[in-house]
Amino acid sequence: MADDSPPSDQDLVRAALRDPNAYAHIVRRYEARLQRYIARMLGRGHPQIEDILQDVFLKAYVNLNDYDSQRSFSPWIYRIAHNETMSLFRRRRSMPQMLTGEDGQRVLDRIMDRDATEEWVDDARNETRLKQALSTLEQRYRDVLVLRFLEERSYDDIADILQLPMGTVATLVSRGKQRLRKAYEALDL
């Protein structure tokens, strides 16, 4: 009986190494996820999202043999996306935008264990407050908060994506949460 389950990432990587056309499967599988992730870092509607996405896939293809098939493929390609996006900021000597209101709100919901349908979510004043609070966070805290609470990545994956020790990731997530909460609440005073 034929196995109908979709091929694993590892199978697709092996196939792409044999035949470049097979790489299209990987592109299709990760296109939407990476586009969303890059948009979260660049800001929605940024004109260079697609350029970066293309660069990510081309770079991943050239470095396909660097992928360790014993580990998950997803953090590996996310890492390339993260590095490519950050290098754009370095080239432009600018910093990533703060999270947009909706994404930022979702981070805060998850951090504060609130129900996203609560009344305050729609409150424009709260959104402004949240933007202000997020803008006070350092980039490294924003990086881990996005990956943890929006991309819903495990600490292990975040460690691979940001190339940090797992203990450091846990510390950054914990401090990032505290700082965001503190900054948000301070704006209420």
Partner: protein
Amino acid sequence: MTGLDRKIIEAIGKRGLTPRPYAYFLARNSIFWTLAVISVLLGAIAVAVIIYAMSDFVATGGRGFDALPLDDILAYVPYVWIATLALFMLSALYTVRQTRRGYRFRTLHVVSAAILASVVIGGLLHLLDVGSLTHRFLQHRIALYDRLSLSREGRLNDPDGGFLAGRLLTVEVGKELTLQDFHGRVWTVDIIGAKLEADVIAAGEDVAIDGTRTGLDAFEASSVRDWD
């Protein structure tokens, strides 16, 4: 294929891109691990010299110390080698970080492991005399090192301060020695009444002598000790 996937496949074909061979990444990873090992080994040599310098401090019993010995003790600390060790530990950290999974290790763990390995290997190298050989090798070839390291040879070759050291050329038992100090100067040393603490006093041996300078190239010994 209709969208981005088509663009990517076309770009791969147009630019003639191919995946870099696995051997490239293997070699890159191996190079960084090798550099990390070399850093630890160089750190071990630094440790061997530090042990040598500190054992010299113990062996000479703080010779030349006055009533307030802190400045003398500080003068004996091998700063150059401690700084060298720190440099190689940083180099080990950097190179481990460049390896494929090196980012997973915490800085404290990498540095602690590198220091521990350097200390253990350095201890073994000290037993093989690598510390003293390295020290002398650098001392005779690099003038700056000699000045920076406040070498034992420099400190114990101070006839006006009551210290003389070097290689014995001739020995007249109970009477007199001739000795060539580490700067090449030949001294005649009166050993009548001197306390002989060295295991072997014979031509070709290195000794450290306490006493008083009595002439241009003459010295009266109060004690003669082994150099090592």
